[in-house]
Symmetry: C2
Subunit: 211 residues, 2 copies
DNA sequence: TAGATTGTTAATCGATTAACAATC
DNA sequence: TAGATTGTTAATCGATTAACAATC
């Protein structure tokens, strides 16, 4: 099996599209419908499904409910994922305050910061001292962590998370982190995203196309 | 020329790595140094450079300063990029308050929201009513916009931006937006990023590897 | 049955890597 | 010069797409 990141991203998109189609009253979908909904091709959709042993009915397409169930199962949406956020500054507190993750089955249970002015253990989502991160993670068996601390602190915070037992990290600090092989790290680098956007805007202006 | 998004992302990474190496006192670099710094291969680095007509000295590597200058030029870092943010909620205000973009040459000059409680025209980065977005963009000749409004408002806000003359959009709303051909849209979908992370964490747990 | 769609294999496309002649 | 590194071409690898037999 050759499952890569792009493939799983597509699975997430199919899943999200299915919910929209469901709201529109669909009961079954064809690979062609899904391809349209996510801007792909029907062959890609069928290929992705076959990689995960998802099958439909020849001529009848895919049953929405069983398909959604299978996708949710593959994507681990069948259980609530407890997550913590390190850093309660701008981005950290935005993530903690963002309620959009709940309906995705992602529950941010606590934040951590080194700045005592930001600590608030009584808040709806409590903010603890960074010194409590490792034990909290260990006792609450947290597997997913989000890093939203300044660059200079990011590696140190990652080490704490790993020591506590965290298995996967979403990293907003624009530096590359070192971690043991079995730790999964996904980086979100907003500066690079903007830089990229600017390049292609300029390319369109220069050449009339995206080259 | 076949310039794709991945390639430009690598250019950004080279550029960032060069600043770090510069701080370490490097005056020239070899493709091998850069490959190590960004986790790539020397062939990839040289290939990328050759696509943009960047050349070094055989045996002498690349001169840091001229290389940085060329990369900054390609990436449009030679001029300040004025940007606006639509939506001053959790994520929008985090972006507005984040000072990390300044050193990247990205200047968030204003925010916009529909909620009058969030409007503050006297703030360091003023927050205006959404109704002023289009004219502001037009008069200030803003080319880059960031969408951080709820899903239900995102398409409408995008339309306003495009009418005002914005050319590129970084979209945080987890829906797919429709825009004219020449408008560049980059999506950042944090839900999908987390979902992806969870999948690979589970994959490591199941199989001991990332499959 | 006839017709439409799946599931899968083969073909194509594109991106990465290897290799090496050119050359500083 | 000898040695090391670039620049580029060719080979490989992987992912997407096309095509079509299977079949509901």
């Amino acid at each position: 099996m050759k499952i890569n990141k792009q493939c799983i991203i597509r699975l997430s998109r199919y899943k999200n599209a299915l919910y929209r189609l469901k709201n529109l009253g669909f009961v079954k979908v064809f690979s062609d419908n899904l391809a349209d909904a996510v801007g792909s091709t029907s062959a890609q959709v069928r290929k992705d499904f076959s990689l995960f042993g998802i099958s439909g009915n020849r001529r009848g397409g895919y049953q929405m409910d069983t398909l959604l169930e299978k996708l949710n199962n593959i994507l681990g949406k069948d259980k609530l994922q407890k997550t913590i956020v390190a850093g309660a500054g701008n981005i950290g507190s935005a993530l903690i305050g963002y309620r959009g993750f709940e309906k995705e089955g992602i529950d941010i249970v606590a934040g951590f910061d080194i700045d005592s002015a930001l600590i608030n253990e009584k808040a709806e989502t409590p903010i603890f001292s960074l010194s409590k991160l490792k034990d909290f993670v260990k006792h609450s068996k947290i597997e997913i962590g989000i890093i939203a601390v300044p660059d200079s602190a990011a590696q140190e915070v990652l080490d704490l998370m790993v020591e506590g037992g965290i298995k996967g990290v979403l990293n907003f600090a624009p530096i590359s982190l070192r971690a043991p092989e079995h730790i999964v790290i996904n980086n979100v680098n907003l500066g690079i995203e903007l830089e990229n956007l600017i390049y292609f805007v300029n390319a369109v202006e220069r050449t009339g196309s995206r080259e």
